[in-house]
Amino acid sequence: MTTAPATGPAPGRRRRRRATANAVGLVFSALMAFPLYWMLLTAFRPATEIHADPPHFWPDHLTLEHFRRAVDTPTFWANVRSSVLIGVGTVLVSLLIGTLAAFALARFSFAGRKALVLVILGVQMVPLAGLIIPLYLLLSDAGLTDSLVGVILTYLVFMLPFTVWLLRGFIAGVPVELEEAAMTDGCTRLGAFRRVVLPLLAPGLVATSIYALVQAWNEYVLAYVLLSSNDKQTLSIWLLSFQTSFGTDYGGLMAGATLTALPVAVFFAFVQRRIGAGLTAGAVKG
């Protein structure tokens, strides 16, 4: 399938245009990627070269010393564990209960539906930083401070609205007739949902889980306040430890940043085909 306009000017001109487009695309990629390049370069070069003046644009010597130091920090693996548990926990729970609500919104008309839609959109606007103290007091009353469950619960409510909204678009995109056919074939409503709707929802679930994962993985203000034990903190907070009173350990910080971003980047690389599709579907059906 070619989507570029197929007809038009003579082939020669088209080739030239394509070449120009390619060049512009590559320049753009280089500019976008430059901060990443500099991060990796800083992470892999010896400490004495990091502060070279003027900076060296290409790597001279490579070293793993910063990565070794980062991984050797006492709480590193505990922090990885926290990040993974919080990320996966948030994604799973928000998908589970978000799908139910999305289904209700897409397939039923009921009193209060409009209000729910409004609330779901409005929640996006609540500034998280402003809620720290009230949230902390609430979780403290529930005995959920310094607990991963408390953090997951908090993230959950900030992810849910987007999850519900996006999935709603997907469910709306599944023809009702398919579901009805399954129901006349003897499936229950739930059975029909499971056998017909759920498989078609896969791209939506992927897109949503990415969104939730990135948010949960990156957030640090709430996690910092809610998790006081050093070994329960997440990787985002662990990164702060490279800024000491001795100055910023840029080598360690960039190595830590690389390690923190890596799992998400790998995950993205696997599922990126679904990302844009999912978001578009959510929007189109919105």
Binding site: A104, L128, G130, A265, A277
Partner: protein, 326 residues
């Protein structure tokens, strides 16, 4: 389909305006069926009400009180202050400066993000498949960067003494950027901060728009060109109507996120932003946690939400309209 082609969404369904339950309620609708939607939304509603609604009410109550650390530490109920907090911020010229600055910042970030993303998305439809793979790869990698990491990188790039940006600019003839501090002048500082925000936002926006562009029927575009449409007309009458819903969604989400931006400023200014760098989110946070005027901070947060709501009313109405029609 090229290797990096983003597959389209499930589009088996005909246009969305085919309400089923709304238009044709079936007679066999029992009580159980009527209860079902409420059961389905119950977990979501409960979670939102408990973990978000309750603190939000607390926040609003707090904004009408005068809470100091004494009440915070002892748990004693703070005295009520009526509208005093709101009066003090709304009559403070500085507050309105921050509001204006936040609005300007939001417009700049959203405009830059959208224009750039649209250009990138259009470009991605024209380049060779391998170039598209490279572009997608870079976009995805950037998207995966935590904001904490992005802010650290940009801070490091723009460092006055060792920043590579100063050095690169210094290579251009006639420019001396050695030891140039980007944050001394807030306009330049905000340029860098806008850079981080846009850099982080473009992947989401560009990939979404790119996927939306793949929905433009090739035959339609061809037919338009055969009919002698100019590229501008083609975009306006063929491409834009298809990608408009996606563009509206991305624009609104960006606007909401950028209006409440906090992390980037906080991290780039090392946790001590100067007054020139206050946006509403930062201002509210500082009033609460640095100056310990929790109630004033709460009032600022409440006003921020109200402003966003007013600003978003058109968009929300449109969405509710769409949602209700199904």
């Amino acid at each position: 389909m090229g290797t990096v082609e983003l597959p389209g969404p499930p589009r088996a369904a005909p246009p969305p305006h085919r309400p089923r339950t709304a238009r044709a309620p079936r007679p066999r609708r029992t009580l159980r069926r009527r209860l079902l939607p409420y059961l389905l939304i119950a977990p979501t509603v409960l979670a939102l009400a408990a973990v978000l609604g309750y603190p939000l009410v607390d926040l609003v109550v707090l904004s009408f009180q005068d809470m100091t650390r004494r009440e915070l530490f002892s748990g004693a109920p703070p005295p009520y202050a009526g509208l005093a907090n709101y009066r003090s911020i709304l009559t403070d010229g500085f507050f309105w400066t921050v509001v204006g600055r936040t609005a300007l910042f939001t417009v700049a970030c959203v405009a830059a993000t959208m224009v750039l993303s649209l250009l990138v998305a259009l470009l991605m439809r024209r380049v060779a498949p391998w170039v598209r793979t490279v572009m997608t790869g870079v976009l995805v990698a950037v998207w995966a960067m935590p904001v904490m990491v992005a802010a650290s990188i940009f801070r490091w790039l723009s460092d006055a003494d060792y920043g590579v940006v100063n050095w690169l600019l210094g290579l251009l003839p006639g420019l001396d950027f050695s030891k140039h501090n980007w944050f001394e002048d807030p306009w330049q500082g905000f340029a860098v901060i806008t850079g981080v925000v846009v850099w982080g936002a473009v992947p989401f926006a560009a990939l979404t728009l790119q996927a939306a562009l793949s929905q433009v029927p090739a035959e339609l575009a061809e037919a338009a060109l055969v009919d002698g449409a100019r590229p501008g007309q083609l975009f306006r009458y063929v491409t834009w109507p298809v990608i408009k819903p996606s563009a509206v969604l991305v624009t609104s989400l960006s606007a909401i996120w950028d209006f409440g931006v906090f992390n980037q400023i906080w991290l780039m200014r090392g946790g001590q932003p100067e007054k020139e760098y206050y946006l509403l989110g930062v201002y509210s946070f500082i009033e609460s946690f640095a100056v310990n005027r929790y109630s004033v901070g709460a009032a600022i947060a409440v006003v921020t939400v109200l402003m966003l709501l007013v600003g978003a009313v058109v968009y929300v109405r449109q969405l509710v309209h769409l949602g209700a029609a199904e």
